[in-house]
Amino acid sequence: MVPPAEFQSYYGRPVIKAPSWAAPDIAGYFFLGGLAGAGSVLAAGAHLTGRTTTATALKVSSLGAISLSAAALIHDLGRPGRFANMLRVFKPTSPMSVGSWLLSVYGPAAGAAAASAVTGRLPRLGGAATGVAALLGPAVATYTGVLAADTAVPAWHGAHRELPYLFGASATAAAAGMAMAVGPTGENAPARCAAGLAALADAAVETAAERRLGMVAETWKEGRAGNLLRAARVLTAAGGLGAVALGGRRGPAIASGLALLAGSACTRFGVFAAGVASAKDPKYTVVPQRERLDEDGV
């Protein structure tokens, strides 16, 4: 459908307010939270199948990523001293409330899993913590898609069905990339498989999201967001291909892993930038709503 060439606005001013979130904090959190969450799943798999070096490396990576996430989230608050108010209530209508509670259980579990793996102490507790982190990790990786989509931001809300899958795929790509970059090649077969799957899913879901968004997809293709998402596509595809084809050798495994990590970061920063761009231009708020009304015959 061809969007109407003209739309009306109040002196071209935005209708909705763009989030005041800082990209390094919040897009950074989307990336790090995904890396941590999906990393915990890979870590548990490695733990259970005797790939101990990779398991320990991923547990440490998840702890580091989730710690940085918490720091970024608190740093982004207007009143950082009041961060504990996040646990004042539990509200399923607020993805941020759900996420806060999720992190408050996942974080300590990831910490215990890493501490036990590194020190070799309390292995049973470490194993249980690894399991808890692996069960909550996928939720940590995908709920951020809901966090972004549950807003009036056209480029995010319009893709509310696809964003959790995109973030899940992107998180898996990042964690598989980390596993390949830091784990020995003899242990990286599952990570190479996961990298290939995630790269495929990432590309498919992003295409689906752009199709769903209609004219709002412009914000995913143009400007800073367009550059970031194009870079993400190239890096993720190259990383996924490299992982599957050449991941058995140390050098290519590290290169593919780093490409996947960079690709995942570009995806999150790109989607974040698209959201901000779509909020700042009244066109993306007015035109889809006007089309909806016209279709309903109002």
């Binding site: 109040y10 005041s20 799943v41 199948t49 959790p164």
Partner: protein
């Protein structure tokens, strides 16, 4: 809700753009100054609602080949058609005092993770400033772009419909100060009836473009606690034509997030099953 739900009916057809509402709001609520720049776009230098602007008067100048629309605000006044014949003044002014809509289904309230935003006994939506930690989630959640974080303070602020005045049995400062009764305050049901009558009156007088905005309890936000009579499309005033509370789709989003999480878990498990046990 222990009290009757109250609201605003802003009849923009009698707004004269005096900005008394803006001033009264700032004064009563002790809202800090938030910029004194000249926009150059119109008489509107306030620009938009925000953390420190809880009433905002929009000024729209429209070139009208059929002449200006003069509304019959008093009995026996000139009708729209009479002045339309004149044609000498090919411009019309639209003025409208915008405010927080105090939605029936309020996205800001739904997404607030701390419980700082709450629904009062009057059916209004208010931020508790001693709870807000400045997470900023309410800002992009609002389909009208009303609530905002105040720079250097960090917390989110918006219209409270003068919660303190309501508690004392007073009407909000903006409605009190409005010299033309463009801003009417009262029980929402009464306001809706009054607004429907006013639209009929204007239509009979030939002002066919008069329409209500935000009055319908079946719209995407369940109806606004502050609704409007407009003389053009909502987007001309900077209002979204068909706002929908974002949390309407939240159950679907949670389902997709759950399915995505299970796919992640299943996909990785399948990879480990395919690869078998580690080689060392």
């Amino acid at each position: 809700m222990s009290e009757e739900r109250v609201g605003f009916f802003t009849d923009t057809s009698v707004c004269i753009g005096c900005k008394a509402c803006e001033v009264a709001c700032k004064e009563w609520n002790a809202i800090p100054e938030d910029g004194l720049s000249l926009t150059g776009m119109s008489y509107d230098n306030t620009q938009a609602l925000g953390a420190s602007t809880w009433r905002h008067v929009a000024f729209i100048e429209q070139p009208r080949p059929d002449g200006r629309t003069e509304l019959p605000v008093v009995e026996g006044g000139a009708s729209a058609q009479e002045t339309a014949v004149d044609g000498s003044d090919e411009l019309r002014w639209l003025m409208s005092s915008d405010v927080c809509k105090h939605c029936t289904h309020a996205a800001c309230l739904d997404v607030c993770p701390t419980g700082s935003l709450f629904r009062t006994e009057f059916g209004t939506v208010v931020v508790q400033e001693d709870i807000c930690n400045g997470c900023g989630y309410c800002v992009p959640a609002c389909p009208y772009g009303v609530i905002e974080q105040r720079p250097h303070d960090g917390r989110a602020f918006k219209c409270t419909m003068c919660y303190d005045r309501l508690g004392a049995g007073q009407e909000p400062a903006c409605a009190k100060a409005c010299p033309t009764e463009s801003i009417q305050f009262g029980p929402l049901d009464e306001l809706r009836e009054r607004a429907a009558l006013r639209v009929d009156q204007l239509h009979e007088a030939g002002v066919t473009e008069a329409r209500l905005y935000g009055d319908d309890p079946d719209d995407g936000v369940g109806g606004d606690g502050a609704f409007f009579l407009l003389l053009d499309q909502p987007e001309v005033y900077g209002l979204p034509p068909d706002p929908v509370v974002t949390t309407r789709d939240l159950p679907a989003m949670w389902k997709h997030a759950g399915a995505a999480a299970l796919s992640l878990l299943g996909g990785v498990a399948a990879c480990f099953a395919l690869a078998g046990r580690g080689r060392r």
